[in-house]
């Protein structure tokens, strides 16, 4: 469904991504693993139209071209990003944040159902709807961010380190929610430091080093790959 071909991104002279190929299918969770500064966030941002990609890059979603679109049109095309640091509107209430999620025309008709779905997924938000988003705890803010992305009725959901700042329990809940989202047919592309838990719920994974894909496999295979264990699951040996 999401098909990335030869994605390259540079900041000035510094090349953040070099010719990365990557795909995510309907109802699939794909995780990207890699060290700090490997280029994972740049990949997500490029897909969402927040940073420009090189000319020969092709990004398509269900066959339709995303490459040259501006960020707001990409959302209309069905791709939603939960950025690193969440990017919620702290001054606005939870309800307003979620309502803005449905700003895309594609989502307006189904706004009510989507809201119910998000509340089902994160029941805690129900009691906080009229609270300013910034006054909530990190975990709850993360819920708002994911909920807002889901409100746009996306075909594919991109998440940048969603477990950052979450307690392990919260992280567990989050990953359960992602599994539930997958069931609705949404494709999920995940950047995570928490390799263990993310691989546990993922279908496939990519390894990214210094801006290039250095390996990809099913999540199961990666979990038992000694090289991956050494690089990302250092504890596995314990």
């Amino acid at each position: 469904m999401l098909d990335i071909k030869k994605l390259s991104v540079s900041y000035g002279k510094h090349a953040a991504l070099r010719e990365v190929d990557l795909t995510v299918d309907r109802g699939e969770i794909v995780v990207m693993l890699g060290a700090n500064g490997a280029g994972k966030s740049s990949l997500l941002k490029a897909c969402a139209g927040l940073v420009p990609a090189h000319d020969n890059t092709r990004i398509t979603l269900s066959g339709s071209e995303l490459t040259e679109l501006s960020a707001h049109k990409i959302v209309e095309a069905g791709l939603a990003l939960v950025p690193e640091g969440r990017g919620i509107f702290g001054e606005l209430t939870v309800r307003e944040n979620l309502a803005l999620g449905a700003f895309a025309k594609r989502a307006r008709a189904a706004e009510k159902q989507n809201l119910e779905r998000v509340i089902d997924l994160f029941p805690k938000l129900a009691e906080r709807l009229d609270q300013a988003a910034r006054t909530m705890s990190g975990g709850e803010q993360q819920m708002v961010a994911i909920g807002r992305a889901l409100m746009s009725n996306p075909d594919i959901l991109l998440l940048d380190e969603p477990s950052l700042g979450l307690s392990p329990i919260m992280t567990g809940e989050l990953f359960k929610a992602l599994a539930a989202i997958r069931k609705t047919g949404v494709g999920v592309l995940l950047v995570e430091q928490n390799a263990h838990q993310s691989l546990a719920i993922s279908d496939r994974g990519y390894l990214i080093e210094n801006g290039a894909v250095t390996g990809q496999n099913t999540a199961k295979a990666l979990q038992s790959d000694p090289a991956v264990q050494k690089a990302f699951l250092g504890l596995g040996a314990a």
Binding site: G85, G138, L164, G165
Partner: protein
């Protein structure tokens, strides 16, 4: 201090020769060119002094005329009471005291809040001075009859500029100046290197204000009549900022590169298009903003740099995200 080294003596020597040569200007040109020279030198002092503080710290201050005006007004009040050198000392003291007050109370404001604050300060000082004069001294609009000629003013300004450049030059090689550069690069790092950031900033703010005050004091006898509207004309602050930004506030001689062309440009426009000065000035200004990437765009990058670091701080301070 490496005062006797060639890399100190040479630039200072060259500077001394240039300034000595400039001191003979009055015998070469007529008094129109002298008044133009006074304009250039006074803006050179103001823009350089402004840059001394605002260049490294990236604080855009519109308070220039507060200090300039305090200087001018001190002369208006004391000009006929005390000998002129003593008046200059008093002006310097007044400027220093106000700068200390302002510095300690406002340097925690950042960005546009600092800009607007300094602008508001101009208005406030003007109003307070007016009110004081009206209600306490009942003397509004003061006359300054001093036997100070245009050439005297020029020489004084020239000397002040020389002292300012020398101060800036020494500062650039001093620990204080180095501290200011570090603060400009990254205030957090500066603190963790053991720099008392507040004191350094206030010290530089005061130093810069002192030169502005003295400029005002030296210029004042030129106008015979001084009231708060004349002394605290906010346009001056804007002009200084624009000249300094155009020239480059992060090098000692940078502001001069903005002062000379802009003063001459203002002069040409004023002289040739008295009825369309505003329109042309505005157009020239827009052209500078849009088409001078080396002059202005480079500056934006410098001025935008601290913002990125603010973000970095926020990330550093996770969780909470309230670090800025």
């Amino acid at each position: 201090m490496s005062i006797l080294k060639p890399d100190f003596i040479k630039p200072v020597g060259i500077g001394a020769v240039i300034f000595a040569a400039l001191a003979f200007l009055p015998s070469l040109v007529d008094s129109y060119y002298m008044s133009l020279a006074i304009s250039i030198v006074s803006f050179a002092v103001l823009a350089t002094a402004w840059s001394m503080f605002s260049g490294p710290t990236r604080y855009i201050s519109l308070a220039t005329v507060v200090f300039f005006g305090i200087g001018a007004y001190t002369v208006a009040v004391l000009g006929e009471v005390l000998p002129f050198p003593l008046v200059l000392v008093c002006a310097g003291l007044a400027g220093t005291v106000i700068a200390l007050l302002v510095g300690f109370s406002t340097l925690r404001l950042a960005g546009v809040y600092f800009v607007i604050f300094t602008f508001g300060l101009t208005e406030l000082v003007r109003q307070v001075v007016s009110w004081y004069e009206v209600n306490v001294t009942r003397e509004m609009g003061r006359y300054v009859f001093l036997d100070i000629t245009q050439n005297d003013i020029y020489w004084q300004l020239l000397a002040l500029f020389a002292v300012l450049l020398l101060t800036g030059f020494i500062l650039g090689r001093s620990r204080l100046g180095f501290a200011l550069r570090i603060i400009g690069e990254d205030e957090t790092v500066a603190k963790h290197c053991g720099i008392d950031v507040t004191r350094v900033k206030v010290a530089l703010f005061v130093l810069s204000a002192l030169f502005m005050t003295l400029t005002g004091a030296i210029m004042a006898p030129r106008w015979t009549y001084i009231d708060p509207v004349i002394a605290f004309n906010p346009m001056l602050s804007f002009q200084v900022v624009i000249m300094a930004l155009l020239g480059g506030p992060r090098r000692l001689l940078g502001p001069l590169l903005g002062v000379v062309p802009l003063t001459l440009l203002f002069e040409i426009l004023t002289a040739n298009f008295p009825n369309h000065f505003s329109i042309l000035l505005g157009c020239v200004f827009l052209v500078i903003v849009y088409l001078l990437p080396s002059g202005v765009v480079g500056l934006y990058e410098k001025y935008s740099a601290p913002k990125k670091r603010v973000l970095a701080t926020e990330q550093n301070a996770k969780p909470g995200g309230n670090a800025a």
